[in-house]
Amino acid sequence: MNVNHSVHISLQRRRRPRFYVAGILVSLMALLSACQAELTPRTTVDSLRILAIQAEPPEISPGDGSIISALIADPLGQDRPLDWFMTLCTPDEVRGGCLEYNELLEEYPDPDEAEVEYARCCVRGGTVTPVGGVVEVGGGITNRLTTAESMLEGLDETSARQGVNAQITLIVCVSGVCVPEETSPDDSAPTDVAIELPADQSSLAIKRIRVASPDGSPRNANPTLEGLIVAGETFAEGTPLAVSPNTPYTLQPVVSADSIECYASVKSDGSEEYTFESPYFSWYATGGEFDEYFSEPDYITNCSDETPLEERMQEAANLWTSPALDPNLAVEQRLYLVMWDRRGGISWLLMDVGIDGE
């Protein structure tokens, strides 16, 4: 698949619950096509790729802001500069998503009024140079999203407490290859933006931020990944690893004590149920093979359960077999670990790995 592609940067549209048909078809296809023997596994990072986007904080009240950061791997880039484009959109009719120009014209025949509405979706961009092929927190792509105070207007109390989503769309391209184009059909209308996305030199991702009414309960916080236990020894993030070639290693995430939160889940009848988060981990590497592409700790929902965190985390271990020595393969490899709390909270860490040939 090497086709240049033009993508409108507003991706989310109003959706209806067509799960019953689409779900069946997708699942049936999955059932019939589950053999992946010849395809690159998702754990292998071999091209420009957005691995995660973090919002800090991941859950906010209307009118509050959140800092957006991204983890982007560009193993082939050798620190080449990247262009990035980001849309920060507030929800439309409390369902979220950017508004399309044509859709706006139907709702607002007066272009001036449409322009006002369209301004709710803004586009930002810039250029950043990764360090060591990675852009991460503080490394460059950092933006602040401020939501409108009226976002939850019209919702009943329960729905407002459950919240709605604001959406971020992020496009990253090798510098100079992605060219935004204005695509408005006439001069009197607001501008829509399309970006040509050449395959293998761009990456496109979306992230949501939960916007809910302040009900007194604690807001969700991002978890914290502190390091890795490799073959029984703990390594903090940033500590380089040295491994033997073609050797299996058990990797276990180390998280901070408050990373798995107990939170109040708001049911549709307005009642609350307290439960532990059920996080999981996605594993990536520039070389070698993982046993599983994700892992998760011992699944416990009861907040009064006192099972030690370390014990629960043993279930989240994964087996990684380091790459064999190969003249075409760099001896310096990189591991990426991303943690999801399933409520919008995300954390990640990177580990540089040296393949010791002796």
Binding site: M1, V3, H5, S6, V7, H8, R13, R14, R15, R16, P17, R18, F19, Y20, G23, I24, S27, L28, M29, A30, L31, L32, S33, A34, C35, Q36, A37, E38, L39, T40, P41, S47, R49, I50, I53, E93, G96, E100, N102, E103, E106, L197, A199, L204, A205, I206, K207, R208, S265, K267, S268, T275, S278, Y280, Y293, F294, E296, W340, R342, R343
Partner: protein, 799 residues
């Protein structure tokens, strides 16, 4: 290709005895001891393929002196006999002899007896009887485009797995499907109606199309109607497959056990007395185990895995209990209890494109099952013929994948009454009327591990599983009326009208009228020209109309206007050619607008915005059993397209794809296959050996190219983006072709007959692409391939 019988001559349906009766059997019933007035028995003998009279055929009652020779019009007249039922043998040079049971009574109509062209000397006479045992419904007219399968020889067709009905998949007009669906003339699989004994069943094949849901030996004929059929069939815009179980009372006990690598089957038929008998069959598959282990062994030999399109093959089983009884000369009772159960279950890791949140256990499964009871009373009077069929039974389908599940159930009562009246003031005119009614209830339950109405960051985090049930009832009493007119012997005009009400009480009601017109003209005794046009309506499904679940109560029945024009020619007694052109104009198709086009939030999930059109030519060159050779060549040239009524710029249409005046693009139908070719043949060798082969070729099906994907960070999966210009099905997978070879050996050991066979599917181990698979972010694509080389070995023991 089966012959068109002039219907007005079919006064008494041909009643042929079952397969194990020697041709020289005694009369089925001795003449009554109290002898009333004798009746002169007369009738007609015709060519089974073209209905032309057979001159000089000998008709006689075995072991008596009663005999007659047909005249130049094929008529015969036996000396007067006491009223009763007699087995009559009919012999003619160049034709297979048959043994026919006829009724002789003062009020009985003269029978028409059809003879098939001569088969090879190796074919047993018992086979011949089965071949010719086709029976029409009450004075049912010939269909303009029909392909009647004569069953016994088809069991030996390579690739049949000893299942004659599977030959339907090799006929013109049907696109090849990897999972056994019948894709008829560019319509969806669900648009083709499957009938057993005239009642609609949800499926005719087990999953993957491996076997028919009814044992072939329970059937007396299978008719495939690709389109332009009569008004007796309705509620479908596609084709019809009608399998009819035998109504003959067995005259001798016969049993067999069949075993092959995919399933085992046991069958027996037992005469209770001369008026009633019983047939039983049960089948159980173990295809899941065999295919799984076979693949494992093949991968071991190959040293690398196959990217085949199944994880675990299906399990299935079916049963049939059939009871037939005659009451005097005019009444018969036919009772069938049957069921079919399929399940597929796989335990596997989810594909890479599925997010990690699908972590339940990766277990997926689906099942299809139905159980039905059918009772039919047939009355065959001199003026009125009637067949009343009643049926009841549930269809239950389930699907599950991780925490998702769907269960659909249909508890339907079916009633059909087919009537034919013979008091016509005009001898050239025939009238038929009937009704087929559906009454029942349905439920559709789906469960999700999350509430889809809540826009959760991670849908599987939502603490509230979601489950909804749609329940209701339906009522659909359809009526039809058909007239058949013969202004002169070579010309037949059939016009019919069908009125189809369909009511979901309290929710929806509709009524549509389907007029249909057909004509046949035989300018030469060996040539038949046929033409037809008609409307074919189809009711919407409950899911599409219930507004509570996104349905649209204003939706209309979808329909098709079908046209066909063709010619049949009989070159000689064994070689026939059928060429038919068709065009199907499908309108008001129910579609679900895609997200890409759903710009209007007030638009319902289901609309009638779909259009379809398919056109093509079907060619069937058939070599009937002759000189030990049997087979056919089938070729379909077809183009099937869809239009979902989605406005798009004209530039969006892919090269070669037409656009409408509104700019929307026609796109290739999901199962569109331009060329479909099948060659089937078998040759009988001395000493009970038969060899055969089948070659198939079909153009690859289209698919929509994925040009990019975006990463949904919160849900940790990639969402494919098709081309922004809206082009659909803008690519095709490579063509399919394979070769199957088969060897049969029949051995008679005293009272036991052994029939062993070996067939090898996909002899040259072609890795046939069946669909496209992607890596996690859709940057790589590979083809999912179908079954590699697969040998099947079977043994059938008859006693």
């Amino acid at each position: 290709m089966r012959a068109r019988f002039p219907l007005f001559l079919l006064c008494l349906l041909t009643m042929l005895s079952s397969g194990n009766v020697p041709l020289q059997a005694q009369p089925a019933a001795s003449p009554p001891t109290t002898v009333p007035d004798r009746v002169a028995a007369s009738g007609k003998v015709v060519h089974a393929l073209n209905g032309t009279p057979i001159v000089g055929a000998e008709v006689r009652v075995p072991n008596t002196s009663f005999r007659a020779i047909t005249d130049k019009k094929g008529h015969f007249r036996l000396p007067p006999l006491p009223p009763g039922r007699y087995d009559v043998s009919v012999e003619a040079g160049g034709f297979n002899s048959v043994l026919v049971r006829i009724s002789i009574a003062s009020t009985a109509r003269p029978p028409t007896i059809a003879l098939s062209p001569h088969q090879s000397s190796n074919v047993k006479s018992t086979d011949v009887v089965e071949v010719a045992s086709a029976r029409r419904e009450v004075d049912e007219p010939p269909q303009v485009v029909e392909r009647v399968l004569t069953l016994p020889e088809l069991q030996k067709v390579p690739g049949s797995f000893n299942d004659a009905v599977r030959a339907v998949q090799n006929l013109p007009g049907i696109a090849r499907s990897p999972i056994g669906f019948l894709i008829v003339r560019g319509t969806e699989p669900q648009d083709t109606g499957y009938y057993i004994d005239g009642i609609r069943v949800p499926q005719i094949f087990h999953f993957l199309g491996l076997h028919t849901v009814v044992n072939t030996d329970m059937l007396e004929q299978v008719t495939f109607l690709p389109g332009n059929y009569g008004v007796r069939y309705g509620r479908t815009i596609g084709g019809v497959v009608d399998a009819r179980t035998t109504e003959d009372v067995p005259t001798a006990r016969q049993s067999y056990v069949g075993v092959d690598l995919l399933n085992s089957v046991a069958f027996t038929k037992v005469p209770i007395n001369e008026d009633q008998g019983l047939l039983l069959s049960i089948r159980r598959s173990y295809a899941d185990f065999v295919l799984d282990k076979g693949l494992e062994i093949a991968e071991g030999i190959r040293g690398e895995p196959f990217n085949v399109g199944f994880i675990q093959a299906p399990q299935y089983w079916d049963y049939q209990i059939l009871y037939n009884r005659t009451f005097g000369d005019r009444h018969t009772l036919h009772a069938l209890l049957f069921g079919s159960h399929d399940s597929v279950r796989a335990v596997t890791e989810p594909p890479a494109s599925v997010q990690p949140a699908f972590r339940a256990d990766g277990e997926a499964g689906t099942s299809f099952s139905f159980d039905k009871g059918v009772v039919r009373h047939r009355y065959n009077g001199p003026i009125l013929q009637s067949a009343l069929t009643l049926s009841f039974g549930p269809d239950i389908n389930t699907f599950s994948f991780g925490g998702f599940s769907v269960a659909a159930a249909n508890y339907g009562f079916f009633m059909r009454e087919d009537l034919s009246l013979n008091f016509n003031p005009l001898p050239q005119l025939g009238l038929r009327a009937g009704m087929d009614g559906l009454f029942g209830g349905y439920s559709f339950k789906f469960s999700l591990p999350f509430d889809p109405r809540v826009e959760s960051l991670d849908p599987l985090l939502d603490p509230e599983p979601y489950s909804r049930t749609i329940e209701g009832s339906y009522f659909a009493p359809a009526l039809y009326l058909e007239a058949e007119y013969h202004p002169f012997p070579q010309f037949t005009l059939i016009s019919g009208i069908r009125v189809d009400p369909f009511v979901f009480p309290g929710l929806y009601s509709t009524l549509w009228i389907d007029p249909r017109l057909s004509m046949t003209f035989r300018p030469l005794p060996t040539t038949l020209i046929k033409a037809s046009v008609g409307k074919f309506g189809e009711n919407p499904l409950p899911l599409a109309i219930d507004p509570e679940y996104g349905g649209n109560p204003d939706i209309a029945p979808q329909y098709a206007i079908q046209y066909s024009l063709g010619v049949e020619h009989i070159f000689n007694e064994f070689l026939t050619l059928d060429v038919t052109g068709f065009y199907s104009d499908q309108r008001d198709l129910v579609v679900i607008p895609t997200d890409e086009t759903d710009r209007d939030s007030s638009r319902p999930d289901f609309t009638n915005d779909g259009l379809g059109r398919s056109k093509g030519i079907e060619i069937l060159l058939r070599h009937n059993p002759h000189n030990n050779l049997f087979g056919w060549l089938s070729y379909t040239l077809m183009k099937a397209e869809r239009l979902d009524g989605v406005p798009a710029p004209e530039s969006a249409c892919s090269p070669g794809i037409a656009s409408t005046s509104e700019g929307a693009c026609w796109y290739p139908f999901d199962f569109d296959q331009t060329h479909i070719f099948t060659a089937v043949g078998s040759y009988e060798l001395p000493h009970g050996w038969t060899v055969g082969g089948r070659f198939r070729y079909s153009t690859g099906v289209p698919y929509t190219r994925v040009s990019n994907a975006y990463y949904d960070v919160d849900r940790n999966y990639y969402v494919a983006l098709p081309s922004l210009n809206g082009a659909r099905n803008d690519a095709r997978i490579p063509a399919f072709h394979d070769l199957t070879l088969r060897i049969d050996k029949v051995t008679q050991l005293k009272r036991v007959k052994l029939n062993g066979y070996v067939e090898v599917i996909n002899v040259y181990n072609r890795a046939n692409p069946e669909s496209v698979d992607y890596n996690f972010d859709y940057t790589e694509e590979i083809y999912v391939t179908g079954l590699p080389i697969f040998p099947n070995i079977g043994l059938k023991v008859e006693f």
